[in-house]
Symmetry: D3
Subunit: 129 residues, 6 copies
């Protein structure tokens, strides 16, 4: 789609900064035509349109996302955004507090899945002492 190119162009550098240029470039490089249609969508809508609005800082958006993705039951996205949160300067204590907050509002099983997903990434990134 050509009409979304302004949003795509705005979103791509933000997405690369938050999720990591290596990850994003690899996702784009390996995408065939089918997956590229989603790559365009997420880059334009989530990154160009939502993250591209400067009203909220990136750290706040990371915390919002971790809680919201816990509610949405989307563990693969939680993993991406734990890494993004670290890149945005969120501390492990803040991630933990956000997931505990989300547990109160989304219930214990939602909290369990979010903690396990986040923990896996934090260990891998060497973020836990």
């Amino acid at each position: 789609m050509s009409e979304d190119s302004a949003l795509f162009d705005k979103g791509l550098p933000i997405r690369r900064e938050v999720l990591g240029a290596d990850y994003v470039d690899a996702s784009m490089a390996k995408a065939d035509d089918f997956m590229m249609s989603f790559q365009r969508a997420t880059t334009a809508i989530a990154w160009g349109w939502a993250w591209g609005d400067p009203t909220l800082d990136r750290k706040t958006r990371s915390l919002i996302n971790l809680a919201m993705l816990t509610a949405l039951n989307r563990a693969p996205e939680i993993k991406l955004h734990v890494k993004g949160a670290l890149n945005n300067g969120v501390t492990v204590e803040e991630i933990k507090a956000t997931l505990l907050h989300a547990t109160a509002y989304c219930g214990i099983p939602a909290g369990l899945d979010a903690f396990k997903a986040a923990h896996e990434v934090l260990v891998k990134e060497g973020a836990l002492k």
Copy 2:
């Protein structure tokens, strides 16, 4: 239940500050035994346990809640927490940016319901110019 009283005692003043003492006191005063069991639950778990943790400031918790409640499809709670957000110093622009962010992640119909719920409260509170 008596085992939750430390959390209840911790949560009640926070809840009154965020949602407004008038609203909270009226909810407690009119509660019969059936509803009081939930009043205790929300005060202890959401307010004593989640909000009572100082790792995140209240303004950030308000923004997290608005996005998370959009994901959870809970308009009555969104209304409560729009008022709470205003009490916590969140601006209308920040509420708007949070709901637009949530729309990208939760979809257009979730965004519609959240915007309508928030708008109703913002008008009532005289927060829109």
Copy 3:
């Protein structure tokens, strides 16, 4: 549909006993062709097929439903099944314990909506002292 008639015939008397013959007969009587297609579906699938299995007693199915409908965010069905629970001999204390249990697993906002819906019916039915 004719293939579901054995299930429909099995489900109708169970549905009338649990939800009340007046309510069920009125729902069927006022249903036009469009709504009757759903009346057949719910009577055959929920009542003939699920409730019609004697492995679990009706009281247990009522408690299961209240928790499950809290998770599903379906307040209109919660109201129906609070009345059904009373008809099935569930006590107010058991309804309260079930909704508190569901609150732990589904989160505080789910609990709030379920408690409000249940309370409305319990007051109307004169079940609260």
Copy 4:
């Protein structure tokens, strides 16, 4: 936001054709700055970006939406899209078959809410004999 204007311009006439020009124009006219931000979002993303893709015809998109909104538990949007479905040439029998299909996949309570929402609009529009 200016980057979404190509999608907005593409989406507005489609939205007006499907949901009705009167409804859409009134929604836009009464929108203050807060609500206009969502009006832009839905027009650009749902209508310019999703509906604006000619791969699927509008009738098929209407049926998809009715089932998907049943799954998402969004009755206000179901009402909008029942009217949109009629405008797109979907018959009452097709709406009924779609909601019964969705009931099998989303469960009986989801079906109940969708049938009630759809029925309300079909009666109002004089679409039921």
Copy 5:
């Protein structure tokens, strides 16, 4: 359960045609008594009752399912129904358009999971050029 046998008998050949006789026969053959109770349920309700209604053609039902399952967050069923969609004559372009449509309504993380699930099946089936 014996009361569902007319629906089961109606559903089984449809299920075999859409999902593939090999897959369905293997699922039935390996099912013990516990799993057979679900095999009967899905065959009778989803296939005999929903798919067995000729009001909507199979291709349309496939598209409806892909969007609805994206909303329901059920990746294993998405995989089954991508294969079913191909069997029903849906093109890769139509699957892609349906999932993009669902992304607008269900949000970016729902779209990501659906695209990944669908892509895995499309590659395995050799459907992508």
Copy 6:
């Protein structure tokens, strides 16, 4: 958090009895500070607060949980609670009846995921003849 210790102390022995002391002790032993915050939450809220209320017996709570977790789309928790249900004296026939009941209310794909998760545990525990 110290305010939840009365609930934690009440919940731990119940959790050990229902889920198995080996499993719970291992979860606690391997938990670092990050995961221990969730261990405290689930032990205090789910086990001390919800399960610790004697109004409903454990067998009933197990059945409630299986249906509610089917609705919540949380397969890892379903697995834990199938084992807990066996420990609480629930029969395989009762688990099957509960999941079929949940299938009617939550839809076919929810039923599929729940049956597969439950079946995996029942086979592993040698509970199927």
